[in-house]
Amino acid sequence: MSWDPLILTFKLALVTTAILLVLSIPLAYWLAYSKVRLKPIVETLVSMPLVLPPTVLGFYFLIAFSPRNEFGAFLDEWFGLQFVFSFPGLVLASVFYSLPFMVHPIQSGLSGLPASLREASYLMGYSKFRTLLNVLLPNIRPALLTGIVLSFAHTVGEFGVVLMIGGNIPGQTRVASIAIYDEVEALNYGTANVYSAILFSVTFMILLLVYLVNGGYLKKYWR
């Protein structure tokens, strides 16, 4: 049994979550407060990964970034980026695939805050950016935590997208979920069991932690 798939899985989840956090805050802010007519379309696109079979997403990624078409070739030639069957490709696909899990909690956290908090800050002379940083984000900490953890856990658990765009290259794109499938195919139930048990317990612990923190059960241990 190799540890590589597990390490790769958590590395992928970590990188994906970090990118998602940076990306989702402005996106969620825009979705929460903008009154532009385009908004429902963007909202729909963000939510699509929730309902779309992962293989569909993976298939389109595969088509789009294949070095055989112009766009894929362009990226390869000019930036040296190969998204097909590579780790960056996995990250990119995961970011799209887990986007709603980060955006939705932050968006509903932001729109749940009374408008008067923002307005009070503006009237004190603070810009929208400073207000976001000093007033809004600190007051949606539970939503941020939920977003971070759900994205992380969801990325750990993905299979279809990863299989389509990443393939099954040991050490590069073979994440735990694919390794389990492989081992079962090869009738190595023991190894599959170890991978599964580790994934099961780690995701269980992570989710448990979120519910404990957001439910206020750990309050007495800090502050």
Partner: protein, 291 residues
């Protein structure tokens, strides 16, 4: 001096109204906006604060143009130097009382001013507390103090005391009056409570259906000046007791409670907290020299 002549279509829930404001408020005045809910009082404050943009018109404050629809001038809320006390207080839940005040001072918060303001509204003992742990009256005091740290020219209060009970309200009315005078503010207040309006305001602006329908002193607007009784006071009903075939109504006038005997038919619809005019003939009371 605030000169505000603006129009705006408001799509309020339950049908839109057309807001048409024509206000002239002298510097240093304490003015109450009075009227039923949904007539555009809060919108008027929000327009002054820059949180709501009018469709047409101008706002000029102390000779400076804040808004001019034609010239496309619209000062941001950040540039207007306005202290705003929101109806829900809008205290930042992540900051302590002291941090709320410090943040309220903007980028160059003055710690001395923060201290003196906290003294002024008796918040010193609460400075390390988070807003969630404060009572309504305490939150209100924090909101008032916080609105003043940036030394605004104009103070806007949106129904600041409506959620508080009577005893606390009286104390906070004092606070509002005091800061209004000490800071030389021009203050606009929304209130439904006649006692409060009498106590606080120099002028009352009465609004109906998005328009200013009357502007006068509280006395001119509310007191039935046509009754000839010379012994007249406005007060607040604090208790109604039955006494045989009559009722005894306790009325708080200033800080004294007086009792008035009434018939059931006269007090129909009268509730605790209502503002009433107590009138009698000047021939009736007797005087005793005190001291």
């Amino acid at each position: 001096m605030i000169g505000c002549r603006v129009e705006k279509d408001l799509n309020a829930s339950g049908g839109g109204i057309h807001l048409s404001l024509n206000l002239d408020i002298p510097k240093g005045a304490l003015v109450t906006l009075y009227g039923k809910s949904g007539v555009g009082k809060t919108s008027a404050l929000r327009i002054l604060a820059g949180l709501l943009t009018p469709d047409t018109g101008t706002i000029v404050v102390n000779g400076k143009v804040w808004f001019d629809a034609e010239k496309k001038i619209n000062l941001k809320p950040q540039q207007r130097k306005i202290g705003f006390v929101f109806q829900d207080y809008a205290l930042f839940p992540n900051m302590t009382v002291r941090q709320n005040l410090e943040y309220g001072g903007g980028r160059q918060s003055d710690p001395l001013l923060v201290d003196s303001l906290m003294d002024m509204v008796a918040l010193k003992d609460l400075q390390g507390r988070l807003p969630a742990t404060l009572s309504g009256g305490q939150k209100q005091r924090v909101a008032l103090a916080r609105a003043l740290v940036q030394k605004p020219d104009i103070l806007l209060l949106d129904e600041p005391l409506s959620a508080l009970d009577m005893g606390i309200r009286a104390k906070l009315q004092d606070d509002i009056l005091r800061v209004h005078r000490e800071f030389g503010l021009t203050t606009l207040l929304i209130s439904h409570n006649l006692g409060e309006i009498y106590r606080l305001s120099d002028r009352v602006i009465m609004m109906e259906g998005g328009k200013v329908v009357k502007e006068a002193t509280a006395d001119e607007l509310f007191a039935d000046r046509d009754i000839s009784g010379k012994f007249k006071f406005t007060g607040e009903v604090v208790r109604i007791e039955e006494a045989e075939i009559l009722f005894i109504v306790h009325v708080l006038i200033q800080n004294q409670v007086v009792k008035v005997v009434s018939r059931a038919s006269e007090i129909e619809g009268l509730q605790i907290g209502d503002t009433v005019l107590v009138a009698s003939k000047a021939f009736n009371p007797v005087l005793y020299k005190l001291g």
